[in-house]
């Protein structure tokens, strides 16, 4: 939380997007995180993605829990709505908001402590239900806000700053998301903006539960030798399965499409994910194979990144529940009580 607003200056060279907003209009207040924090890079990637997609900031609800990650919504999309909920409980609050107003873009921002430790239950159930959201877990393997205790995503054998070796098994949120039925599953690295921005854009345009696990080194408590979430370690072990290029719905695809090495995934809204296959054998549409691939490569010490799995036409919670297209909070009495003639039609269906 910061009380320091960025000065309202717009450099003339800043290019406006389709809405007339510049990148600056998607920023928030000045970050109070440690200098060099990976989370600030993720905030910058969110800003970039929303700017490039010409998202109307007031159509976005930033939802978060507790932790360094959950402070970041203050640092991007200053003109969007925000809700800082309690520790590990953001997914249920987001679910309720999404049920009452399906028109907003729900951007859940959480961390490994918030999602994998105290909030694992809520994380799992929001994905299982297919809540229409973009869920970004800013994963650094430690509780930064309470000074660097291991979180549940810390790898077994990883060393803390004080030299302590972590003994518990790590929770892999991406493997869990695959098991739980998330329909857009990606992992990235805060230090790889080129990979991260299109993954966020794809998630925003995805219908259903989209989860991005972003390894985001904690420069103060988990960026040392022996850590498996440090900048150096992640750079050395990052094994991307694909390079993603996001193509908006109305844009004609004229890019160098090479069958066999490039895959096009058409999403529900007509946008495309153009995937350059870095691993020829990798198939983003095969959930079980993706899970096996993750496990095999993790066992070899590799950190698999990229678009891990996508089901572009998956049903979301609104589909499961058959909710009205009009948001619940704007339905009027006229729509709820359409009159005797409409009732006749309904009754007629049962005769």
């Amino acid at each position: 939380m910061t009380y320091i607003a960025k000065p309202k200056l717009h450099h003339p060279s800043l290019q406006p997007n389709a809405l007339g907003f510049t990148r600056r209009d998607y920023e928030g207040r000045i970050s109070t995180l440690c200098a060099g924090c990976g989370h600030d890079s993720i905030s910058a990637a969110i800003v970039q993605a929303c700017y490039e997609l010409s998202i109307e900031p007031h159509r976005v609800a930033k939802m978060s829990g507790i932790g360094c990650s959950s402070k970041t919504p203050d640092y991007f999309l200053g003109q969007a709505h925000g809700f800082n909920s309690v520790h590990g409980r953001m997914p249920s609050v987001l679910t309720g908001a999404a049920m009452a107003n399906r028109d907003l873009l729900y951007l859940g921002v959480s961390g490994d402590g918030d999602s994998a430790s105290i909030g694992l239950g809520q994380f799992a159930h929001a994905l299982r239900r297919g809540v229409n959201m973009v869920y970004i877990c800013e994963n650094n393997g430690v509780y930064g806000l309470t000074k660097g205790q291991f979180s549940a995503t810390a790898d077994q054998g990883a060393k803390s700053k004080s030299g302590e070796v972590h003994v518990d098994s790590a929770i892999d949120l991406i493997s869990m998301a695959l098991l739980l039925g998330a329909s857009y599953v990606a992992r990235s690295f805060s230090g790889d903006k080129k990979q991260l921005v299109p993954l966020i854009k794809g998630a925003i345009r995805h219908k259903g539960a989209a989860i991005l696990d972003v390894i985001s080194p904690c420069v103060t408590f988990n960026n040392h030798l022996g850590s498996t979430k440090s900048f150096d370690y992640v750079r050395e072990h990052d094994e991307a399965v694909n390079a993603v290029d996001f193509v908006p719905a109305k844009k004609e695809i004229t890019a160098d499409y090479e069958p066999g090495t490039t895959e096009l995934v058409r999403q529900h809204d007509g946008s495309y994910l153009k995937l350059s296959k870095l691993r020829p054998d990798y198939d983003t549409s095969d959930r079980i194979a993706a899970l096996a691939y993750l496990q095999e490569h993790q066992a070899q010490g590799e950190l698999v990144t990229g678009l891990i799995y996508v089901a572009p036409e998956a049903a979301d919670l609104h589909d499961h529940l058959g909710t009205a297209d009009t948001p619940l909070n704007t339905l009027t009495e006229k729509e709820l009580c359409p009159g005797a003639k409409a009732l006749e039609v309904v009754n007629g269906e049962y005769r």
Binding site: V86, H87, G88, I118, L120, Y143, L145, T146, K147, Q149
Partner: protein, 386 residues
């Protein structure tokens, strides 16, 4: 005894460590811990101690931290945890379980404002949500008191006539992070003060089940047993003070600490660190010829109503300071104590320092001036901390 410079968080953890070691001849020590500001340093300190027959489990939430303590106590171990604010709020379900299942868990609470909106500074409102849960609550005024209360807390919680959790409260940052000289006794003296933990209903040789369903009359019986045990706490605490004094050569503070209260016409009643400031104000106002006194309520649950009533007797004015608010009613200390005053006494509630605002001597002077101008009790009044 050795004098050590310890923060109150570290003092609580040091006392828990000594108590844990004292149970090496018993069934060991188990603690579940989870960090939260401003109580984190307590669990950190505990995690760094070498304690034989002990496991400090770093769990994933406060709820589980208390769960580990409950399980540990059910197996007969000595148990301790520490938390704050929303951590305690999240722990509530299991705190109630520990209480209703009569497990002697000691809980150190670094009092912090409940959120959201988020605020990390001191407020008594977190501990007070467990006011009616069957947990003994001490509110401490200084580092030594936190240390002593944790030691006495184990003795009290584990007394067979009591057998329930004890919460030791210290205001976040004001106490939790303040470093002060603390008298730390030798292990053999702690061993003598704290006999091995014996939870009579622990899961032991004769198989039985804890926590089954019960019918209304059984619930009534259990609640009344628990209530009766709580009412016995003041007398048992006095015994423990005597024992403590015999072993350690100094007496831990009383459950109520009156200060120049005997002949006072105006009495200031408060908890935590506030009374320390109030006592200074009493000295200042006495020097001006005003008959002012203070009453520090250290044991808030069970509330020693008879003893408070005796201090209240004959007072013209009673100013209660609440670093909390029972929304829709008023300050919790005021709610609980106003009926103990004589008819006709002006009892006025002053809401002060909520959300961690400093309560300085001039604020308390203003309260005294305000109550002296009153002829009748009024609604709770917010003292603005400017």
């Amino acid at each position: 005894m050795s004098l050590e410079l310890l923060s109150a968080n570290h003092g609580a953890a040091m006392a828990a460590t000594l108590a844990a070691r004292a149970n090496r001849k018993g069934r060991g020590f188990v603690s579940g811990v989870y960090p939260i500001t401003p109580s984190t340093e307590c669990m950190e300190f505990l995690c760094n101690q070498k304690i034989e027959k002990s496991h400090v489990v770093r769990v994933e939430s406060e709820h589980s931290a208390m769960g580990v303590c409950i399980g540990g106590a059910a197996a007969g171990a000595r148990t301790f945890t520490a938390t704050s604010s929303n951590g305690l709020a999240y722990m509530v379900e299991n705190c109630i379980t520990a209480a209703t299942m009569r497990f002697p868990v000691v809980i150190a609470v670094a009092n912090r404002t409940l959120g959201p909106p988020w605020n990390i500074w001191a407020d008594h409102g977190d501990a007070l949500i467990l006011r009616d849960a069957g947990i003994i609550q001490f509110f401490c005024a200084d580092n030594q008191e936190v240390f002593d209360s944790v030691l006495c807390g184990f003795r009290l919680a584990e007394d067979k006539r009591v057998m329930m959790p004890v919460m030791v409260c210290m205001e976040g940052f004001i106490l939790s992070h303040r470093t002060a000289q603390t008298d730390v006794p030798e292990q053999d003296k702690v061993d003598a003060f704290l006999p091995p933990t014996d939870v009579p209903h622990r899961l032991a040789q004769i198989p039985h089940t804890l926590g089954q369903i019960e019918v209304p009359h059984q619930t009534e019986m259990h609640r009344m047993q628990h209530h009766a045990a709580m009412l016995d706490v003041p007398a048992i605490y006095r015994e423990i003070q005597d024992e403590f004094e015999k072993i350690f050569g100094r007496r831990p503070p009383d459950m109520l600490v009156p200060y120049k209260a005997d002949d006072a016409e105006t009495l200031i009643v408060s908890m935590g660190t506030i009374p320390i400031t109030a006592e200074r104000v009493v000295d200042d106002l006495r020097a001006q010829g005003k008959k002012v006194g203070s009453l520090r309520v250290r044991l808030f649950r069970p509330l020693p109503v008879e003893a408070i009533g005796r201090v209240f007797a004959g007072k013209k004015r009673i100013a209660v300071i609440d670093r909390n608010i029972g929304l829709g009613m008023g300050g919790v200390l005021w709610q609980d104590t106003r009926a103990l005053a004589d008819p006709g006494t002006v009892v006025q509630d002053y809401l002060a320092g909520m959300g961690g605002g400093d309560i300085r001597p001039e604020h308390i002077v203003k309260m005294v001036e305000d109550i002296e101008a009153r002829t009748a009790s009024g609604a709770p009044k917010l003292m603005e901390m400017v």
